[in-house]
């Protein structure tokens, strides 16, 4: 396991999220270091998104703690988590369908900057994500993969120090997926990331430390090679995929 650079930026202690009898997240102890890039994998219903929602304030955990950069964030509102400088992309694309691509990204930049900086940052982000041709298009009229890119653009425009992405490459073409990997590597130069993904090829391309979820718990945490070689991991997950 690669223990990296300094400070712990995300920590959960004994985190539980139960829905009636369903233990979607169960006693999860998780640690993320500054500038780390971590992938979360696991079969459908393993609890990845639920864990993700506990981190982002979309769900209030049944018990346990979420600590972000030393601050107790358990049960905080999503805007409070985001206001720490955390960029978030949800599994179901959340964009402003009735607004243009430009306006979507401006709304993110303007949260952190004044008029003129927000405008230039919006232009930079649009260029960086190659959204120039569609900047005046309503996001609701775009293809699924493009809407995902707009959402990534919103995350990037906020210049976050911590980025949480739930299935960023879902529904993307091969080419788009490849560019997403590039973008993630680029973001990782300045920020820590947690990326939830299904696509094994995608994970292999990023391939840092991988946390494997199964039935609400962390089953393993290691490099992708080690996980691929592990018989338990193969059985719960890799056996049906890759």
């Amino acid at each position: 396991m690669t223990r990296q650079r300094g400070e712990v930026v995300v920590e959960t202690r004994d985190l539980c999220m139960h829905f009636g009898g369903v233990r979607a997240v169960d006693q999860v102890d998780f640690t993320l270091f500054d500038r780390e890039l971590r992938c979360l994998i696991g079969p459908n219903g393993a609890g990845k998104s639920t864990f993700f929602k506990c981190l982002t304030g979309q769900l209030t955990p049944t018990s346990g703690d979420v600590i972000i950069r030393g601050q107790e964030m358990t049960g905080a509102e999503p805007f409070e988590v985001a206001s720490l400088g955390v960029g978030i992309k949800t599994q179901v694309p959340n964009v402003f369908d009735g607004l243009t691509v430009e306006e979507n990204i401006w709304l993110s930049a303007r949260r952190w900057h004044g008029e003129s900086r927000a405008r230039s940052l919006t232009a930079e982000t649009i260029e960086r994500l190659r959204l120039g041709d569609i900047r005046r298009t309503l996001v609701g009229q775009l293809a699924h993969g493009q809407r995902q890119w707009v959402e990534l653009g919103m995350v990037v425009a906020a210049e976050p120090w911590l980025v949480l992405l739930d299935e960023p490459a879902a529904g993307m073409t091969h080419e788009e997926t490849y560019r997403t990997v590039e973008l993630i590597e680029e973001i990782n130069k300045t920020s820590a990331l947690i990326v939830v993904e299904h696509d094994m090829q995608f994970i292999r391309m990023i391939s840092r430390t991988v946390t494997l979820f199964h039935e609400g718990r962390i089953l393993m945490q290691d490099t992708m090679e080690a996980i691929s070689a592990d018989p338990r991991a193969r059985e719960v997950y890799l056996g049906h995929r890759a």
């Binding site: 985001a82 949800t90 009735g98 306006e103 709304l107 949260r111």
Partner: protein
């Protein structure tokens, strides 16, 4: 004001200019009776504008916008009677109504009440005002010098010159004041929706979770626009009781609550000019129908509502804007460049 803001506001300013022309021309052309009637329609248009702002831009479907309108009228009337002048009364009416809306909104938005219950709560508040004030007919129900008068209502002192309580305005002059109030509220709302605050409100209408995940406290923004909307409705209420000369609890009835929503649906959500214009059109339609007995007024309004919901679901103004934009797009590239960059229209 930045040049971008000016460009966004161009349609708003054009309509405002037309309004000013109308304001100065109308008293020369129209009869006094019509002018007095118009004052009432203007007051209702301000009410429609307030709902157009909070529903069309803030995504808050408030079924009881008329509660703030009526409250504004009552607070104005009672304060004006007690103070013996209208200047402070107008201020108190707008501020007290906004404060009431802020308190109500605080529980709604910070309690994360769902959209459906927001409608229910605001409508209930309206109907509570209706039945409470209807019951205040005895001499014991008075606030200071003002008798509430139950279902007969209270007669409202007319507006006087600022800080000069002895110089009352004539009905014709009240028309000027009402029209000026409408134009000012319209330009203010048109400016507001183009500020950062307004654009964040629009984003919340589009996707509340996304706005929240960008780090905006959506509760504060919703509370803000709800409170501002109530203040604008109160301005309408002040003009209304001046136009009519009195205020009765009927202002709070279900019919008026529904009517406000019909104006916005017919005029079109996401524009400000649409609902204001629709209010005038429907006001004159219902007055025209009032003069005959073949068709029932409510029936006609009901049919109009159904026709719009089914055939023109976006409302008049957005449909016209779409049509104009589509025609413009067919023109050569040179003129296309000047197309506005954002989706929503400041009109």
């Amino acid at each position: 004001m930045s040049s971008g803001m000016l460009r966004q506001m161009r349609p708003t300013l054009v309509y405002a200019l037309l309004g000013i022309v109308f304001m100065f021309a109308a008293p020369h052309v129209l009869q006094l009776f019509t002018i007095i009637n118009l004052t009432t329609a203007i007051a209702l248009a301000i009410l429609a504008l307030s709902l157009a702002l909070i529903w069309g831009y803030g995504g808050i479907l408030c079924f009881g916008q008329v509660a703030f309108f009526g409250l504004g009228a009552y607070v104005y009337t009672i304060s004006a009677i007690n103070i013996g002048g209208s200047t402070w009364a107008i201020l108190i009416a707008v501020l007290l109504t906004s404060a009431f809306a802020a308190a109500l909104g605080y529980f709604i938005f910070f309690g994360r009440v769902s959209d459906v219950y927001l409608g229910v709560i605001t409508l209930t508040v309206t109907l509570i005002f209706f039945s409470l004030i209807r019951r205040t007919s005895g001499p014991e129900y008075k606030i200071g010098k003002a008798l509430l008068g139950g279902f007969n209502g209270v007669s409202s002192p007319p507006i006087n010159l600022p800080w000069d309580a002895r110089t009352f305005l004539f009905p014709e002059q009240v028309f000027y004041v009402a029209m000026a109030a409408l134009i000012l509220c319209y330009v203010f709302a048109g400016w507001l929706v183009n500020t950062k605050f307004g654009r964040v409100c629009v984003s919340i209408r589009e996707n509340e979770l996304r706005s929240e995940l960008l780090g905006y406290d959506v509760r504060l923004y919703k509370l803000g626009i709800f409170t501002i909307g109530a203040g604008i409705a109160a301005v309408g209420g002040v003009m209304f009781c001046n136009g009519v000369g009195r205020i009765t609890p009927d202002v709070f009835n279900l019919y008026n609550a529904a009517l406000t929503i019909i104006w916005v649906i017919v005029g079109g959500r996401g524009t400000l000019i649409g609902p204001a214009g629709a209010t005038f059109a429907l006001f004159y339609l219902t007055s025209a129908l009032g003069g005959q007995s073949v068709l029932n007024n409510n029936l006609v309004l009901g049919v109009i509502l159904i026709v719009f919901v089914l055939l023109v679901p976006k409302g008049v103004a957005p449909t016209v804007i779409d049509w104009v934009n589509r025609r413009r797009r067919k023109r050569p590239v040179r003129s296309r460049r000047r197309r506005r960059s954002r989706a929503e229209d400041a009109g």
